[in-house]
Symmetry: C2
Subunit: 360 residues, 2 copies
Amino acid sequence: MRLKHAKRRTARAAPGPGRNASIQDVAASANVSIATVSRVLNTPDLVAADTAERVRRAIDQLNFRPNRFAQGLMTRRSRILGVGVPDLHGEFYSALLRGADDEARRRGYHLLVTSGVGGKSSDGHMGAMLGLVDGVALMITEPNEKLLEVTRRSDLPIVLLDAEVNGAVRDTILVDHEAGAAEAAQHLLKTVEPSRCFFVGGPRENFDTARRAKAFADAVRMHIAARTPPRAGDTTVLGPDQIVYGDYSVNWGGIWARDCIACGRLEGAGVLAGNDEIAYGIMHAALDAGLSVPGDVKIIGFDDTRLCSLVRPTLSTVRVPLQDIGAAAVSALIRRVETPDAEPQRIRLKTTLINRESGG
Amino acid sequence: MRLKHAKRRTARAAPGPGRNASIQDVAASANVSIATVSRVLNTPDLVAADTAERVRRAIDQLNFRPNRFAQGLMTRRSRILGVGVPDLHGEFYSALLRGADDEARRRGYHLLVTSGVGGKSSDGHMGAMLGLVDGVALMITEPNEKLLEVTRRSDLPIVLLDAEVNGAVRDTILVDHEAGAAEAAQHLLKTVEPSRCFFVGGPRENFDTARRAKAFADAVRMHIAARTPPRAGDTTVLGPDQIVYGDYSVNWGGIWARDCIACGRLEGAGVLAGNDEIAYGIMHAALDAGLSVPGDVKIIGFDDTRLCSLVRPTLSTVRVPLQDIGAAAVSALIRRVETPDAEPQRIRLKTTLINRESGG
DNA sequence: AACCTGATCGGAAGCGCTTTCATGACTGGC
DNA sequence: GCCAGTCATGAAAGCGCTTCCGATCAGGTT
C-alpha cells in the first residue's frame, strides 16, 4: 500500500535518522515556538528560566545542532576564517598555521586554508572562498597587484601578514625584520670586519628578504660611520657582492658559499642568511671545504625553524615568532569581524637573536 | 525630504555597494525569472542559448556570485571538506596537507583544517565542524574510542587516514608500513647479524609504530628461520631490547643510542627508527661517540621528511608518500560525497626504501 | 482540426533560521 | 479598579537559493 499524492504541505516526517533535528522539531518537543528556541540559543536573557530549561532538554534529547547554512543566511556570518598563504611547504607555514588554528579554535572559529595564493590559477578559488568566510588573513611574500586589488576592493575583513600595502589602511601583522637583521649584523660586526660581512638573501622581490637586506646594509654602514677612530679606506659604501639574492634553499646557500670559497673570500667572513635553509647550505659547504664554523666563518640564519637546533654545529638564527604571527592574525581578524568599525591595527612582533654555535 | 514609512514589502534597494547582487537582481536585469537564472548556473541545457547569454551578461555586469549559504541550505552541500589531524606540527602534516589542498582545489573544494583531533577539548570544535563540511578526512594515530564512536554514528562521509577501524566499513587510505619496514629490515640483514638489528620506535600505542615494529620483527625472524645452514644458537625469539618504544623525537633517539653505546652494543648494529627524527638522534649520538655511520652502525629512518637529505651523512629512510596520502584522502572523500552509494574503498599506498648514506 | 510532444520559462514552495512586531499576562502606582 | 509599564512569548516576514509543477507555444502527427 502506498499513499498517493499524500498531502505534504506542512506535515513533516519525524526527525528520524537521515534527517537532523531542526529548530521546528525542538520547538514542537518543548511545546514552544521556534522563536523561543532561537532565543534560548542566542539571547537566553529574554526567556524565562523554566522555559529555557525545557528547551535545552529538548535540544539535548534530539541532539539538535542549528543548521549553519540557515544561520549564515540570516546572520551573514559563518565563523569561518580564510587563511591564504603562498605555499604550504615546510616548517615555516606549518608553524604559522598552528598558531592560527590554536587561536581560532579558542575563539570558536574555524580555519579555511588555501595555499597557492598569488599563483596563477588561484583567482577562482579565492573568489569562491570569499563567499564562505567572515574574513581573510592573507600572507603575501611578493608584490602581486591583482591580489592586492582584490583585497582593496573587497569589503570583506582582511588582515595582511607581514606585508604593507601602500594606500590602504588595513589591519596588519608586522614582523620586525629590521631589528632582527640589525641585531644579527651587530653581533657579527663584533668580530668581523664590515667589509667581510655578507647578506645572502632569498628572492630579490621577496618582501622579507628586501627588508632584511636593507636593515643589514644600514647596520653595517652605521657601524662603519660610528667607529672611532676611522680607519684608512673606510667607506660607507658596501661592496656589490656583500648583499646578494637567490632563493630560499639549501642549494642556493651551497652555491654561494662554494663560489665564495673559490675566491678565497669566505674565510674570516660573517654571514647573515635570508633564512635558515640558506644558512644551513652555507654552513655545510664551508664544513665540506674544511673551514670551521664558527671559527673560520660565522653564520646566522633567519626564522628559527626546527632545523637550527637539529644540525651540528647548531645554527644561530634570528627567531621569528611564527606561531605568534598566526595567532595574532586570527585574533586581529576576529576583532575586525566582530567590531567592524574598530580602528585599523598594526601589530608589530619582535624578533630575537638566538645565539647558538654557528654565529660565534 | 525623507519618505516616512515607505512601503518596503517587495521593493528592494538597488544592489549598490554594501550589498552583493542577488539572483533577484540578475533576474530583473536580464528580464527573466530567478528560476531561469538558477538554471543557467546549474542546468544550462534547459535554457535557450540566447536567454542564457543574456543572463550571463547580467551576471558579469552585476558581478553576481551565488550566496553559498542559501545554496547550502537548499543543496545540503558546501564544497568544503574537513581535515582533522592530531597535530599541525612539523614536516609530516604539512606535506600531507599540501597534497590534500592541491587535490581539493583541483576539484573545486575547500579545506577546513582542524588540528588537535583526539585532544581533550576537541569535541565541541569537531561538532561544529560537522555542520559545515560535506565530509571529513580524519587522521588518528592512537586509539581513541570517543572519536571513533563519533565517526561511527555520524552519517557524514568520512575517510580514515592510515587507521583501521574494526567493525566499520569505511573508505580508508592505508600506507604499507609493513612492506617498508620489512624492506628496511632485509636491507640491514644483508650486512648485520639478526641479533644486532634494532627497531627504535615512537610511542607504543601509535598505530604506525606498532605496525612497523611488528613487520620488522617478523622480517628478522623470517630471515633467521630461512637461512641455511642454521647457525649454532639460532633462535627465532628476538631479544626484548631489540624492539623498543619511546616517542617521535630526536631526543629519544639520542637517549637510546647513548644507552646502547654505554653497553657497547651499538657498534656493528643495524637500526630501523620509528621516524626520521629518531634516526637522526641516533645517528648524531653515534657520531658524537666517535662511531662512524654507516661504517660502525647502519641507520634507516622512516617517512622521508626533508631532514633526510639535509643532514650529513644523509639519512637512508623508508619513504612514505605523504602528499599522495593527502591527495588520495581528498579524492576518496569527494568520491563518497558525490556518489554516496559507491562501494567503500581501501586504497593502499606503497612505501619505498630510499638508500642514502646512513643505511650502508 | 484536434492532439500530442518537447522545449522553454515563470510561479511558488520551502530549506532552517533570526528578528521585528504584536499580543497577552502581570505588576505597581494612583 | 484602571492605566502605563514590564516581561515572556508567538506569528510571520524574510534571507537567497533550488526545484517541482504547470503554462505556453511551436511544430509535427493523426
